[in-house]
């Protein structure tokens, strides 16, 4: 980037603009009736996502929601925006193509723990290091739901599944640790029983200028009943959120979390289960892939003196004479 003359601009989401007289409502956003099992945590994620879109008031036609494959990955069917269902584990590179090709869109990807951390694990890392402007919501139920109860990469040791009837044997991954290490520039954790918290996290994620990820513990009542009770107060668990530094110089503030401190975020991620919920990590300074590539285009165009496509290609062929 030594030859850059145009400076990197932030690739903030296009200005939220309500359509005259037609605010985006839950009603307008509601599509097919969800096919999830009654009681599935994903219903609450969907409801919260509606609220986030209502808050954001983006143009409906500029919103894109895509899923991988899994129960959770079906969420886009239930949101009346552009979107759909890609193949298992590959929704991130697919949505990277959408956001990099179309800077005017708001791109959301959805998936499960299997989709995101098992078959899709490498795409997560490489998407994160590119830092495209988009939001990724992982509904972690610590099991393969759609295929009916096999061990997932977040299933705890000892979890009894159809592929580990004696209890899971392989060490699970730690999603927060994995996400922070990936280089994602916004990493948060929430819980499907906490609608306000989910809305807050997803809303912040959507406004983040870069690759933002929200992992939501979302119970699979069919195959992993009670998995997250330890963080549900009404089931005797503890709900413990991350208090962010206010930089008010107060003594209490020293104990609060600075989300720009990667090592602190990593430490938080190492806390024993069920751990904390909230914003673990945020990096507002790394330029997005959208911005970096736009800058490259701008620099290159400047060098070509904004020649037309025909002029450019004609020159190239002239050089081949």
């Amino acid at each position: 980037m030594s030859s850059s003359t145009v400076s990197p601009a932030p690739s903030l989401p296009p200005e939220a603009s309500a359509k005259a007289g037609a605010p985006l409502t839950k009603k307008a956003l509601t599509s097919d009736h969800p096919t999830w099992c009654p009681g599935c945590g994903d219903f609450a994620v969907l409801a919260s996502f509606y609220k986030v879109l209502e808050k954001l008031q983006y143009k409906q036609e500029n919103i894109v929601c895509f899923g991988g494959i899994g129960c959770s990955s079906r969420l886009p069917y239930f949101v009346n925006t552009y979107g759909g269902h890609y193949i298992h584990g590959r929704v991130l590179p697919f949505t990277v193509g959408i956001t990099l090709g179309r800077d005017d869109l708001h791109v959301f990807a959805f998936g499960g723990d299997g989709d995101g951390f098992s078959i899709g694990g490498n795409h997560l890392v490489h998407t994160a290091r590119k830092n495209p402007r988009m939001t990724y919501v992982i509904m972690d139920n610590s099991v393969y739901g759609l295929t009916k109860k096999q061990t997932s990469p977040t299933s705890p040791l000892g979890f009894k599944s159809k592929t580990d009837p004696w209890g899971a044997l392989d060490q699970p991954i730690n999603p927060m640790r994995t996400l922070i290490n990936s280089g994602a520039t916004f990493v948060a954790r929430s819980h499907a029983t906490q609608v306000n918290h989910m809305v807050e996290m997803m809303h912040k994620a959507a406004l983040h200028d870069g690759f933002s990820v929200v992992e939501i513990l979302s119970e699979c009542v069919e195959f992993n009943d009670g998995a997250f009770d330890s963080s549900i107060p009404r089931k005797g668990g503890t709900w413990s959120t991350i208090e962010l530094k206010k930089n008010d110089g107060s003594p209490e503030d020293a104990a609060r979390h600075d989300p720009t401190d990667e090592l602190a975020a990593f430490k938080l991620a190492l806390e024993p289960w069920p751990g904390k919920f909230g914003l673990f990590y945020e990096n507002k300074t790394r330029p997005t892939k959208n911005a970096v590539e736009q800058k490259l285009i701008a620099n290159t165009r400047e060098k070509t003196k904004n020649a037309s496509d025909l002029e450019l290609l004609s020159k190239t062929f002239a050089r081949m004479r």
Partner: protein
């Protein structure tokens, strides 16, 4: 050697010449070849090149062969008229490729030829020391290749101003020193006194197209064909011999406001490309063999979701990692059938370098009009060889594409059963207030998942019928030679030139032979059945294995489709392009032709009597 005159009036005139340069991959022999090829292009001559790439990492023996001259040049030549040998191993491994009467130019600093070999003219030149002497200083023998270029320029009376211009262009970005050294080496070579070695290449008999000629390789032609077609987005992962397309696009697209993404693997690459296409930006991905195998799942999604996409496969020797730097045409079946389920898609194959440009444009048009993935099957031979062809008429051809985000009427459906799907990219306002869904699950007309048996039947038919509709309007492939008769030669991809030449030789020998190079491999063009019925033997010539039942891949497909037992196979898997003589001999055996040497140049042109 009979040619001897030294004055320009008596210089023997020759129609074309085949020069083989043999050395190591570090010697810059590709560069000499490239200069010669581009010079031919700039002189309205025909040219074709052929090269080998060592499969080892640290270089190794390598050759570059260039055939240039007047008349239609369809192959790089089975055997050479001139062999330039830099090392003893170059001489030993390639002496046999020289035609009787041909000229061996050897580096007398490194090579000792067999003194008893009288079949050829051997000329020793101290290439290494002469270069060092001419250039001097630190660059040492680095200019050896340019020295040889000077030698050949004098030998064939080539255009010195054009060549020095080419040298200046080539080294333009570098320091003045480098240009000066190169010109010093060139002049030294040019000045070498070998007056017995003087020829003149006849002017082209091919009517110049009114347009200047351009000279390039197949990968470059494909890349710029895509740009001309309006493609501005793509994603890929490197692999030989595909990589240079992605390198060109990565470097060029930003100039056009576009963007090429290097991904973590081939699955991510096709996914990102599909994301671009979904956003309304027709995109391209590509790879070679192993990388294509990884794209099969996502390619099935493209068929199911009806997403336009261009996929390039620069085929190489398989299976598995196989022979990465050799040629093979063994990915055809996979291109058509590699994904699970019935997933119809379009498969095209360019017949030469020029065709790479036009087929890329056609692929983009088909992908858009039929909302389908289109696979372009190029191959290692076309990808790396240099040809000269008329510069494309860009003002007429260039396409401008932008996501079409106009609002859509209330009756918009993403998967209408009575029309071909054309997706509305995000950003398009829906009058119905209902936004379309795109999915790899079976779906209804609005894109919502459906497990209805009737809907699956209908959607399967919809996806099939659009490809059949395309088939109905494809142009019939050009049938050369005899329009009926004993043998119809069929090929695809890089076999075009050798087949066309073989046809000529067989016809010269009295056989009634036609030739048809298939560029549309799935679906087939219409009218093939009738054409086939006019020949006794239909011989499909491919560089792939004969399969369990004796048929190459295209032959298998043609037999399945037309059930015509006259369809037979000629195949081989030695990783090399066909020689004309290989084909002629196969056919001759088949039809009992005794003299297959008719039309074959046995002696080198350099040995022929003076003609003017």
């Amino acid at each position: 050697m009979s040619a001897s005159a030294s004055s320009s009036a008596n210089t023997p005139s020759i129609p074309d010449v085949v020069i083989r340069l043999a050395g190591n991959s570090q010697d810059g022999i590709q560069a000499i070849g490239g200069f010669l090829a581009r010079l031919a292009g700039r002189s309205d001559q025909e040219v074709m090149t052929y090269m080998t790439i060592p499969s080892t990492i640290s270089g190794g023996p390598s050759i570059f062969q260039v055939r240039m001259g007047s008349g239609e040049i369809l192959s790089a030549g089975d055997r050479a008229d001139v062999l330039v040998a830099f090392y003893q191993h170059s001489y030993e491994n390639h002496r046999a490729s020289l035609r009787p009467g041909g000229v061996l130019l050897y580096d007398s600093d490194h090579v000792t030829p067999n003194p008893d070999d009288k079949e050829i003219t051997a000329v020793g030149i101290p290439m290494t020391s002469a270069t060092v002497e001419a250039v001097g200083g630190s660059s040492k023998e680095k200019g050896k290749n340019i020295y040889v270029l000077g030698l050949l320029t004098r030998m064939f009376d080539l255009d010195v101003p054009k060549l020095t211009q080419l040298i200046k262009e080539r080294f333009g970005g570098k320091s003045e020193d480098i240009i000066r050294n190169a010109l010093l080496a060139f002049d030294a070579g040019y000045a070498y006194p070998a007056e017995q070695l003087r020829y003149r290449l006849e002017k082209s008999t091919v009517a110049p197209g009114g347009r200047p000629q351009v000279t390039t390789d197949g990968n470059t032609a494909l890349a710029y064909g895509l740009i001309a077609a309006g493609v501005r987005h793509g994603a890929a992962y490197p692999i030989t011999p595909w990589s240079s397309i992605m390198e060109t696009l990565r470097t060029e697209l930003p100039k056009y406001g576009g963007l090429f993404v290097q991904c973590e693997d081939e699955i991510a690459a096709i996914s990102t490309a599909l994301g671009f296409s979904y956003g309304g930006n027709l995109a391209i991905t590509g790879s070679s063999g192993p990388g294509l195998s990884l794209k099969m799942e996502a390619l099935g999604w493209a068929t199911m979701a009806e997403m336009p996409l261009i996929v390039i496969n620069v085929q190489r020797g398989g299976p598995s990692t196989g022979m990465p730097t050799n040629i093979e045409q063994s990915d055809l079946m996979q291109a058509i059938y590699g994904s699970h389920g019935d997933a119809p898609r379009v498969v095209l194959a360019p017949k030469n370098v020029e065709d790479c440009f036009y087929l890329a444009m056609e692929a983009a048009r088909i992908a858009r009009e039929y909302s389908t993935p289109v696979i372009i099957l190029s191959d290692q031979a076309i990808a790396t060889r240099i040809e000269a062809f008329d510069e494309p008429d860009l003002p007429k051809l260039m396409v401008n594409l932008k996501p079409d985000t106009r609002p859509r009427d209330a009756d918009y459906k993403s998967y209408p059963l009575d029309r071909i799907t054309h997706h509305a990219p995000p950003g398009s306002l829906m009058a119905s207030g209902k936004y379309p869904t795109v999915t790899g699950l079976e779906h209804d007309e609005l894109g919502h998942p459906s497990a209805s048996p009737a809907m699956h039947m209908k959607m399967m038919a919809k996806r099939r019928e659009k490809i059949q509709a395309l088939a109905a309007i494809l142009p019939a492939p050009e049938l050369a030679g005899d329009q009926s008769g004993e043998v119809l030669l069929i090929g695809w991809g890089c076999t075009y030139g050798p087949l066309r030449e073989a046809m000529g030789r067989l016809r010269a020998a009295g056989a009634k032979v036609g030739h048809l190079q298939m560029r549309h491999l799935n679906p087939f063009s219409p009218g093939l059945a009738q054409t086939f019925n006019r020949y006794k033997h239909i011989l499909v010539v491919e560089i792939n294995d004969q399969g369990l039942y004796g048929y190459g891949q295209l032959a298998t497909l043609l037999r399945a489709t037309f059930c015509n037992p006259a369809i037979e196979s000629i195949t081989k898997t030695d990783g090399l392009t066909y020689k004309v003589s290989e084909i002629v001999e196969h056919v001759a055996k088949k039809i009992g032709l005794a003299d297959t040497s008719i039309g074959m140049r046995k002696q080198s042109v350099l040995a022929m009597p003076v003609r003017n």
